[in-house]
Symmetry: C2
Subunit: 327 residues, 2 copies
DNA sequence: ATGAAAGCGCTAACAG
DNA sequence: CTGTTAGCGCTTTCAT
């Protein structure tokens, strides 16, 4: 029951025309009469013709391949993003190649190099690597690239307005009467060009200063796929500044992964807590955690439009403070 | 700074040999002197030669592409599996193409068809479609395929021993004194050839009958990415048989997705609860839920060995009852 | 409007 | 041992 794969050459034979003419019909190229074009198209459909990406790619055409390079599919919002990206790309006939860097710089470069040699038509990248040289290298590849999660100076980025989002989040917290804010993040991410996290911290410091709020910054060690270890939580829970403070305290977690783990502690301390990304498991598990959500579907759509259709503008993705009562 | 991509032809020029000889050196083909081979290999490395998958694929060689077709990256254990599969494939120089079916039969066939036309070297498939005709079709593709999650009669499968795993899980439950067992699953999955779930239910019925235990089977509507809706939980929580039973009751959930959502209810009812798969978020969030874990890393390794290295045997993946005190 | 032909980088078969 | 050659299915250019 295996169907033979028909090529343009075979279609040409069947239709009694040259292969060049078939190509003209199939790819809307000029120089063909409507009549023959229609006939070829009909036969092509009848025989289930599908273009061969390898041949196309080899002769300078598109490979119909898009690469997605992210940390891993469990972390943060990558699962959701991947889900939506694949859907958008598939809609346009493109296939998705995934590569996971596990936050390893060497691996990241390897992924990019692989994709380059595969002649993908576009790349979605959550970079750890950074620096002028790296950016120039990426640019020199001459493949459209959109970054997510971490920003690079010269490359397009899809994400929310971190300044506004963090501001909104803090307004939400402050307007609920919290007087002491504890920012939770990782030293590792701050060292590794984690644009979003750095911005969130920067705005946190600006605004808390502006409101003369007491603050604390907790830098934890990020453990891939776990976020915060039990030991770290124990340490945090023993912090004098937390247990002995008479001020209404809230944890502002740079990502939901940390917030989800700290939620029980926050409950115990009677502290408020909020995270970023509104990861799916919050909803799946019906967890009462406030979070700064952003429209992943819209982001995926924007990325796809830019990468595939060459839309020049990547719109800022709208965000929303999801209130579930943890603040 | 863009490196030129060197081809075998260019290497041939550089080395002053024919392209055929370069090919022999690069691919360990016979008929070449150690001396020239070594020289060519050295030059190839020096110039950063990388084989062109499109050209290779077109001339009957490997495409170095593996397709992974699953429901979606958020559900169940697919995120974990995808993570490990990509790692295994990458180790061997293969790239991973992901496609998400969202449990849509038509989409599943489309994915397979796409991969077939891309000439992938192997496919990992979690099928919803089934039936003799479909299986024959898959077989006719002449591409190695391994199924996961759902089994098909004639195709290789990687997973745990469901009979033993379910037996072990129930032994764990029964040995802890539970007298009434409630099995939670979805009608949808039972209708859609969900091998694992069907087996789990079958064994559940066998064993509970054997021990003359009181049972109940709750069929919920599966909601992609959510599992169980609030409404359904409300309904379950109102069930007389649950609230008025004087017997020690436990929920046996066919997957962790349901167990995680029912955990609070189980707590409220003072019931025990156990799930299957030991999905990562249980650990990430340090949730106290017993679960039947299976070694995803080993599964990914076995799949990769079969698909890429042609290992004839796919070993049954070992399972383990993870006890966290919910039973 | 259509045909013919070159070439992308590789595999495989054949010639020396 | 090594060189040569014919494709794979497409894109592109040049002829007709």
């Amino acid at each position: 029951m295996k169907r033979n794969i028909v090529s343009t050459t075979k279609l040409a034979e069947i239709c009694g025309v040259s292969q060049g003419t078939v190509d003209r019909a199939l790819n809307n190229r000029p120089g063909i009469s409507p009549k023959t074009k229609e006939r070829i198209l009909r036969v092509a459909k009848e025989f289930g013709y599908r273009p061969n990406i390898h041949a196309s790619s080899m002769s300078g055409g598109k490979s119909m391949l898009i690469g997605v390079v992210v940390f891993n599919p469990n972390d943060d919002y990558f699962g959701d993003l991947l889900n939506k990206l694949e859907e958008e790309f598939a809609k346009k006939g493109y296939s998705t190649i995934v590569m996971f860097t596990h936050k390893n710089q060497h691996r990241e470069k390897e992924c990019i190099d692989n994709l380059y040699h595969m002649a993908v038509d576009g790349i979605v990248l959550c970079p750890i690597c950074h620096g002028e040289e790296y950016e120039n290298y990426l640019l020199s590849l001459d493949i459209p690239i959109v970054t997510v999660g971490n920003k690079l100076e010269k490359l397009p980025y899809s994400g929310m307005d971190e300044v506004q989002a963090t501001t909104d989040a803090l307004c939400h917290v402050i307007s609920n009467g919290y007087e002491k804010l504890v920012f939770v993040t990782t030293a590792m991410n701050l060292k590794n060009n984690s644009y979003a996290l750095i911005e969130r911290l920067r705005i946190f410091e600006n605004i808390t200063k502006q409101y003369s709020l007491e603050t604390e910054i907790i830098e934890i060690d990020d453990i891939e796929g776990i976020g915060i270890s039990d030991g770290q939580i124990d340490e945090i829970s023993k912090m004098k500044s937390l247990t002995e403070s008479d001020k209404k305290t809230a944890f502002v977690c740079s990502t939901d992964i940390y917030a989800l783990r700290l939620l029980p502690l926050a409950d115990k301390l009677g502290a408020g807590i909020i995270g970023f990304n509104d990861v799916r498991s919050i909803n799946t598990l019906a967890i009462k955690l406030d979070s700064v959500a952003y429209n992943v579907t819209a982001s995926a759509k924007a990325i796809s439009d830019y990468l595939i259709d060459g839309n020049g503008e990547i719109p800022v993705i709208e965000h929303k403070i999801i209130k579930r009562g943890s603040i």
